[in-house]
């Protein structure tokens, strides 16, 4: 019998907290709850959850404090439940170390997909190849095969793909991408990233009208959306 992952749900609204816990349990996870940031820290320390779902705006102690407190001590994945129109909050939460966000009102399947992606990222062992539906990336030989045929990428494009695929499911800031790939030319602009990303996407997407692997994440950067197999 496998031990189910423990998810900490932090929200000041009891209806959301309870119904969300119930759905997570139905999906096979164990849950713990807290009603604000401070209680969240206490439960986090005593329960050592595998993943944290937290609201941002809460009385007493908000989600930002919780994220900062968790990040000071651990790398446990954090998914933020943000509200629409609060883009600045979303970006700030990611900056503080949150791994992903969903926008309220979200659908449960969408949330579960994000949870799976985050849990998988933390358990995935470092490997020499990344495998997705229809796409395989050989990190050692720096080869990419899409739909059974090899795709020729420039070194920059390959680095971009490697970085995003290794962080599948996680929104990546353009600044992070520049810092990782254009280490030697930190004056690189977002436009440069966009140009390379656009040509990478043209090469790996089987249908450019319907992206399957990489999408833009408004006001953040990019996200690799395919689930690893």
């Amino acid at each position: 019998m496998t031990v189910s992952s423990l998810i900490l749900v932090v929200d000041d609204d009891a209806a959301i907290r309870d119904s969300l816990s119930k759905e997570l349990r139905a999906a096979g996870y164990a849950t713990a709850t807290a009603s604000d940031g401070r209680e969240g820290v206490t439960v986090f320390e005593s329960g050592a959850p595998d993943l944290v779902l937290t609201d941002l705006a809460m009385p007493r102690s908000d989600g930002f404090e919780l994220i900062a407190a968790i990040r000071a001590a651990s790398r446990t994945p954090i998914i933020v439940l943000s509200v629409r129109g609060a883009d600045a909050d979303k970006v700030r939460a990611l900056d503080l170390g949150a791994d992903d966000f969903v926008t309220k009102p979200f659908s449960v399947p969408e949330l579960l997909a994000r949870v799976r992606a985050q849990l998988r990222r933390t358990t995935a062992a470092s490997s020499v190849a990344l495998e997705f539906d229809g796409l395989s990336i050989d990190l050692e030989r720096r080869r990419v095969v899409q739909g059974g045929r090899e795709v020729r990428l420039t070194p920059t494009e390959f680095s971009l793909l490697e970085l995003l695929a290794a962080n599948a499911g996680k929104p990546m800031f353009i600044e992070q991408i520049i810092a990782r790939i254009w280490r030697d030319t930190p004056s690189t602009t977002a436009d440069t990233v966009r140009v390379h990303m656009s040509s990478l996407r043209k090469k790996i997407e089987p249908d450019p009208s319907d992206p399957r692997y990489i999408i833009t994440e408004p006001w953040v950067g990019y996200r690799f959306i395919a689930e690893p197999i």
Binding site: S19, K104, S198, S209
Partner: protein, 489 residues
């Protein structure tokens, strides 16, 4: 008593005083030196009362009387003893000097008194202006009181609205002939006081200047007050006007800040309070859906509830976006967004539409990214696709197309094509666009209107056109994201 009467009375009085001293001296048989002192006292008093001219004439008359009545030979203007010529000359010089000294002293005292009064007035004015100015009216009252105390018989305070030609009378006493307006504008423009005689006496026009800018004018008509006092008063009033303006501006800014803060917290609260129940409904729906797995009836009901909840959510999103844009809380933040990603987001937002009918997506190879606020662009598309879904017969496909604008290379055209009933024939213009009032806007309703204003906020536009072979094309033209030269690969 009028001026002329008063002058006559002074002259008569002066002569009577000389005559009285002469008569008393003669009757009492006083010796000439005693009479001389009596004359001097009389001239001193006459000078105090009547001024320099009367004093001087009285001195001469007294000298003649002194000679005529008291120096032998009596009752002639000749003198027996030549030494008496010296005495008489000494008397004349002393009496004229006494007269002048007395008059000078009196003038000084009067000037000092006037200065004291003016200072008192200015002090009172400054207290008035700075203690009681919570409204412009109080300024006018204080200025009016000060003018009155400075001896002005008319005039008042006039402020400028931006230009000296747009005048606002804050307070005014007496009549105000039309030319006064021009005079006021003149001192406002030249920033120099103006002083000239008028039917009322002396009129003074003083500009109110703060930081080199004329803000109004203080007018004193028929005043005796010194220019110095009037200028001080105008400076005080100018400062008070400026202070008043600062107070008003800061109150206005304060009110603005408070209403902005209120708007923000209100929008936040509404957003939170409307979103939370829908989130809960969505989550509970999932548990219902699981239970409905084996029950077709229940599954259909749950599906319908889910669909309506989705519509409700989108409407709330729409209204909040509009409210934010209108409240100035959200400025569209354009960034390059690939049309394919927008279409994909539409699919995620409208899963039920995409499940109910075929939706095809096409992005031209050379189609640039859209430079628009991604969430607003998404909302526009979602509204139009939802409208297309609503008017289309079951199973009829919807197409989403993105291409470079056929006429304007700096724009991207996104199209939503349906096979609905379409627009009435013959209402399209040469470009295939129809006026909104001629189209089926009624059916498309709020969604189209919202899409229209969101597109406008993004620097874009929306048009509806009949589609070849039946149906409607909804077009969204948005600015293209053009990469800087040299960045193209």
């Amino acid at each position: 008593m009028n001026g002329r009467g008063r002058r006559a009375a002074i002259w008569i009085g002066a002569m009577a005083a000389i005559a009285a001293v002469t008569a008393a001296g003669s009757a009492a048989g006083l010796n000439p030196s005693t009479v001389g002192f009596a004359y001097l006292i009389a001239i001193l008093l006459i000078s105090v009362w009547g001024g320099l001219a009367v004093g001087t004439v009285a001195s001469v008359v007294a000298t003649l009387s002194y000679n005529f009545f008291f120096f032998p030979p009596l009752y002639t203007l000749t003198l027996a003893d030549p030494a008496n010529w010296f005495a008489l000359a000494a008397f004349l010089v002393s009496s004229v000097t006494v007269s002048r000294l007395v008059v000078a002293a009196r003038r000084q005292a009067e000037t000092a008194e006037q200065r004291r009064k003016e200072l008192e007035t200015l002090y009172g004015l400054s207290i008035d202006l700075f203690a009681a100015t919570n409204r412009v009216g109080a300024l006018g009252e204080a200025a009016g009181r000060a003018l009155q105390l400075l001896g002005a018989r008319g005039g008042g305070l006039v402020l400028f609205d931006e230009s000296p030609y747009r005048q606002r009378v804050v307070s005014w006493r007496g009549d105000k002939p039309e030319e006064i307006e021009d005079l006021i504008a003149g001192v406002g423009r030249h920033k120099e006081p103006l002083e000239f005689p008028s039917p009322l006496g002396r009129d003074v026009y003083l500009p109110l200047i703060v930081g080199g800018k004329p803000t109004g004018a203080l007018v004193a008509r028929g005043t005796e007050a010194s220019m110095h006092a009037l200028e001080s008063a105008s400076r005080l009033v100018a400062l008070a006007v400026e202070r008043q303006r600062f107070i008003e501006e800061s109150a206005h800014m304060q009110a603005l800040r408070e209403s902005e803060a209120l708007k923000t917290s209100l929008l936040r609260a509404i957003s939170h309070d409307l979103t939370t129940p829908i989130t809960t409904i969505n989550i509970r729906m999932e548990s219902l859906r699981r239970r409905a797995a084996g029950d077709d009836d229940l599954r259909e009901t749950v599906g319908a509830i889910a669909e309506e909840t989705e519509r409700l959510r989108r409407r709330i999103d729409n209204l909040l976006s509009m409210a934010r844009l209108e409240a100035g809380k959200a400025k569209p933040r354009p960034e390059p967004a690939p049309p394919a990603d927008l279409f994909r987001a539409v699919r995620e937002n409208l899963p039920l539409v995409f499940a109910a009918r075929p939706v095809s997506v096409h992005v031209d190879d050379d189609c640039p990214d859209v430079n628009a606020d991604p969430s607003l662009a998404l909302e526009i598309l979602v509204n139009l696709v939802e409208n297309a879904h609503r008017v289309s017969p079951p199973g009829a496909p919807i197409e989403l197309v993105a291409r470079r604008h056929p006429l304007d290379g700096d724009k991207v055209r996104l199209e939503v094509l349906d096979r609905g009933p379409g627009l009435p024939a013959g209402v399209a213009d040469a470009e295939g666009n129809v006026a909104p009032e001629m189209s089926d806007v009624g059916q498309r309703g709020l969604g189209l209107e919202i899409a229209r204003s969101l597109a406008a906020a993004n620097g874009g536009s929306i048009g509806l056109a009949p589609r070849k072979g039946g149906g409607t094309v909804a077009r969204i033209d948005l600015p293209a994201a053009l990469l800087p030269v040299g960045e193209r690969v």
